[in-house]
Amino acid sequence: MTDPWIEVCATGDIEKEDLIRFDLDARTFAIYRTADDRYYATDGLCTHAEVHLAGGFVMDHIIECPKHNGRFDFTTGRAQGAPACVDLRTYPVKVEAGKVFLNPGLPGD
């Protein structure tokens, strides 16, 4: 059985209260690090206008889209109000030996 976990980066590659973009084949993800060193992952594109969230702004557990200021709770994926109306999909993340791993699941999961 194939290991579902994909290595993304070293933990230090993401600043505290920030995110990076992670591309895997045709898919794109946003990987977040909170101020207290917890890591999360969501789809990489805003559900409103498909802009990469990686250029956005992290405030606590909120990611704000760089284009239209749509906001999502990246721990749950929940959209926080117009123009973000459709939730983001979230993905499991784990940290092992100083590396961040993502379980991207299967498309359509």
Partner: protein, 355 residues
């Protein structure tokens, strides 16, 4: 194959909408000046303090001018009082609407949302449709057939422009939309940018607006005086002029159908009073390029990006020395526009040229 442009179609469901989509101008990737992530993060930090201070001053200006207007009603002294009240209510509510709409004015979300609802009512813009309209404006800034907020379509309608200083076309048009929304209907263009899940809020808010205006009109009739309407309703007309003076500097006369805000937005230096009334929207190129940066940090962002930007305009006078002749020329020559010159230090413009 080159596209032959005759009269442009500025509607959102017409020929130019299709052309914009075909040319890759709809929902496209825009040029962005280079700035370090670390510095941008610092500039994007939200704070409640500046907006609370400014909102208290703004509210105080409304209360003081409104009270003096009431006390001097029936004398000539009332005129300057209502000039101040009108400008604060009918013009500077535009910038409050704008900043709170982006949810960047305050750090606390409910404060942004509360100011947004109040300022939307004051500036006579329904809060939900206009949030979506402005979202589209940021997606497709001055892209013909896509941007619902192009203030001066070409060729310019000079009469409409003159009337806009007192909202004489805008208010009846917005009122018509409000009534339509009260009956649970959207215009075809609105259906292109207001999602289904938001539409019930449009109808609800329109009914609230109409009720408030109906109450103010009833009050005026009962007391046989227009005084109540001097506070609610009429400031949208007699106080709109400064909003238009500020607002036209944003894009009027500049390129259409480009994917670089340096070419279709103006940054204009203004004095501190104007910057207070306009909430720093004079840094308009910077705002469009980085809408996450709050108004109180736009001056710093401007300093950071200067080398990659066209020369800013040194005041309203310099901006209007360009806007007025350009607008007049566009009446007869609608394809004419101002080509912004980038300094030698700037990154070149992307390949796409305006039509």
């Amino acid at each position: 194959m080159p596209v032959e442009i005759t009269q442009r179609d500025y509607s959102l469901i017409g020929r130019d909408t299709r052309l914009a989509e075909e040319r890759g101008l709809a929902n496209a990737e825009w040029y962005s000046c280079k700035i370090s992530r670390q510095h941008l993060k610092e500039l994007m930090q939200r704070r409640d303090g500046p907006a609370i201070r400014d909102t208290l001053i703004w509210a105080a200006l409304l209360i003081i001018s409104g009270t003096l207007g009431y006390l001097t009603w029936g004398t000539w002294w009332t005129v300057p009082c209502f000039i101040v009240y009108g400008v604060v209510y009918g013009s500077s509510s535009d910038s409050r609407w704008h900043e709170a709409g982006h949810r960047t004015a305050f750090k606390t979300v409910w404060m942004d949302d509360a100011l947004y609802e109040i300022a939307s009512f004051m500036v006579f813009r329904e809060s939900v449709p206009w949030r979506w309209s402005h979202t589209r404006h940021h997606t497709d800034t001055i892209i013909v057939g896509r941007d619902p907020e192009i203030a001066v379509p070409r060729p310019p309608d000079l009469l409409a422009l003159a009337l806009s200083f007192f909202s004489l076309q805008r208010v009846p048009k917005e009122f018509g939309k409000m009534v339509r929304h009260c009956f649970g209907r959207l215009a075809p263009a609105e259906e292109t940018y207001i999602p289904h899940e938001e539409r019930h809020k449009v109808y609800r808010n329109a009914r609230i607006y109409i009720l408030i205006y109906a109450a103010a009109i009833t009050w005026a009739i009962v007391i046989h005086s227009i005084l109540p309407l001097m506070y609610i309703g009429l400031p949208v007309i007699y106080g709109a002029w400064l909003m238009i003076i500020f607002g036209l500097t944003q894009h009027a006369g500049l390129a259409e159908d480009v994917l670089d805000h340096r070419l279709n937005c103006r940054t204009v230096y203004m004095n501190p009073i104007f910057r207070f009334l306009y909430w720093e929207m004079n840094y308009h190129v910077e705002h469009h390029m980085f809408p996450m940066v709050p108004y109180h940090a736009l001056g710093k962002l401007h300093q950071e990006l200067k080398a990659d930007m066209p020369k800013p305009y040194n005041g309203l006078w310099e901006a209007y020395r360009e806007i007025i002749p350009t607008t007049l020329r566009q009446v007869k020559e609608p394809t004419y526009f101002v080509r912004r010159q980038l300094p030698a230090t700037a990154q070149p413009v992307a390949a796409l040229e305006p039509a």
